[in-house]
């Protein structure tokens, strides 16, 4: 059996897992506050827009969104298999394509800001 190309998908998965662990809980907390009706000052249009306008801001936002999407997609792929869904290639294609589309969309939106 030849060496696997799995690192292509696994490396971003691992990176994304780390990003999710460090960033997603606090981001969820922020929008959760918004959901409760207490929008934090930083989530106002001005500050968000300013942040997303900066090059560093774009990079951070894109990094978090794209890697988290990829990581979730990859893990979801494994989960489908674990639940007994054996059409792995199909599942993988759908999920990875979805993650890529999500990332491209995020990039396009960011460029428009």
């Amino acid at each position: 059996m030849a060496k696997s190309h799995k690192p292509v998908v696994w490396f971003p998965f691992a990176a994304g897992g780390t990003v999710i662990a460090f960033f997603i809980p606090v981001i969820v907390l922020l929008t959760f506050l918004a959901a409760l009706g207490h929008v934090p000052a930083g989530l106002g249009y001005e500050s968000m827009h300013a942040f997303a306008r900066s090059g560093l801001g774009k990079l951070i936002i894109f990094g978090v969104v794209a890697l988290s999407l990829w990581s979730s997609a990859h893990r979801l792929r494994c989960t489908c298999y674990d639940f007994g869904l054996r059409a792995d290639t199909l599942v993988a294609t759908v999920l990875y394509v979805a993650a890529i589309i999500g990332s491209i969309a995020a990039a396009l939106f960011l460029l428009r800001i």
Binding site: M1, A2, K3, S4, H5, K6, P7, V8, W10, F11, A14, C78, Y81, D82
Partner: protein
């Protein structure tokens, strides 16, 4: 310390299968008086000696080092010589190791594991052959400690019985064999990592592992195969990047 040993009536429910007469496995109930400090293996031995000589299982050392007596005890992979009766209440259910074909009763066929073990080349592949007359390879205690934990595997296969990915995907080389590959990769005397990667860095190798972590939880020798496989995934990924993305990296 002079109190007499406490006795206890133990109920065992043992999976039986005799290919000469059975098409299916079935449970058989035994009641046997045991000492409170005994292990499940002692109870089985008493059943075999006094009640039913036709009950079959493997065992030898009774000190958790030979790796013969792995069984599922109340659904958990255990060495029966290291499963203390005091840890169990009620009926104790004893089954053969999961994920291996049952030859008879509690005896499973480990052929698949043996074949995989051989495939990962678990032996020193020297960088440069050194004659015996030149003495030992220098290896500092730190270099030894780097791999020692992973050399403790007793090949009991409990990790295979615990690993759902091996159960679902029998092609998976599995925790113990890959961990031994890692053990030699980490050994300062070895130069064979590249050869082993041909097996370990495949889909059947570390890439089937989804890091359930059950292997490490059930390991009676405290080996932690899950950590070995995670580390191998990282090094395999780095290998891949070097081979595919760095010009001239593919040697």
């Amino acid at each position: 310390m002079t109190t007499p040993l406490k006795e206890r009536l133990v109920q065992l429910e043992v999976l039986r299968y005799n290919p000469d007469t059975d098409t299916e496995a079935h449970f058989q109930r035994y009641e046997v008086v045991c000492q409170e400090e005994w292990v499940v293996l002692d109870a089985l031995n008493k059943v075999k000696a006094d009640i039913d000589p036709t009950l079959n299982y493997r065992w030898s050392c009774h000190m958790a080092v030979c790796g013969s007596c792995g069984m599922m005890i109340n659904g958990e992979p255990k060495l029966s010589c290291h499963a203390f009766l005091r840890s169990y209440e009620g009926v104790i259910r004893v089954e053969p190791l999961a994920h291996f074909p049952i030859e008879r009763d509690l005896v499973t066929a480990p052929d698949d594991f043996m074949e995989k073990l051989k495939r990962v080349k678990p032996y020193v592949i020297s960088k440069q052959k050194k004659p015996i007359e030149e003495g030992e390879h220098k290896q500092t205690p730190a270099q030894l400690m780097k791999f020692r934990q992973y050399s403790m595997c007793i090949n009991c296969m409990l990790c295979y019985a615990a690993c759902p990915e091996y159960g679902l995907e029998p092609e998976f080389i599995g925790p113990a064999a890959l961990t031994l590959a890692h053990r030699y990769n980490l050994d300062s005397r070895d130069g064979g990592r590249k050869e082993r990667q041909e097996v370990a860095a495949t889909l059947e190798g570390v890439w089937t592992c989804t890091f359930v972590g059950a292997c490490s939880e059930v390991c009676p020798a405290h080996v932690d195969p899950a950590s070995a496989l995670q580390q191998m995934k990282i090094t395999s990924s780095i290998d891949w990047i070097v081979e595919h993305l760095i010009p001239g990296g593919k040697s």
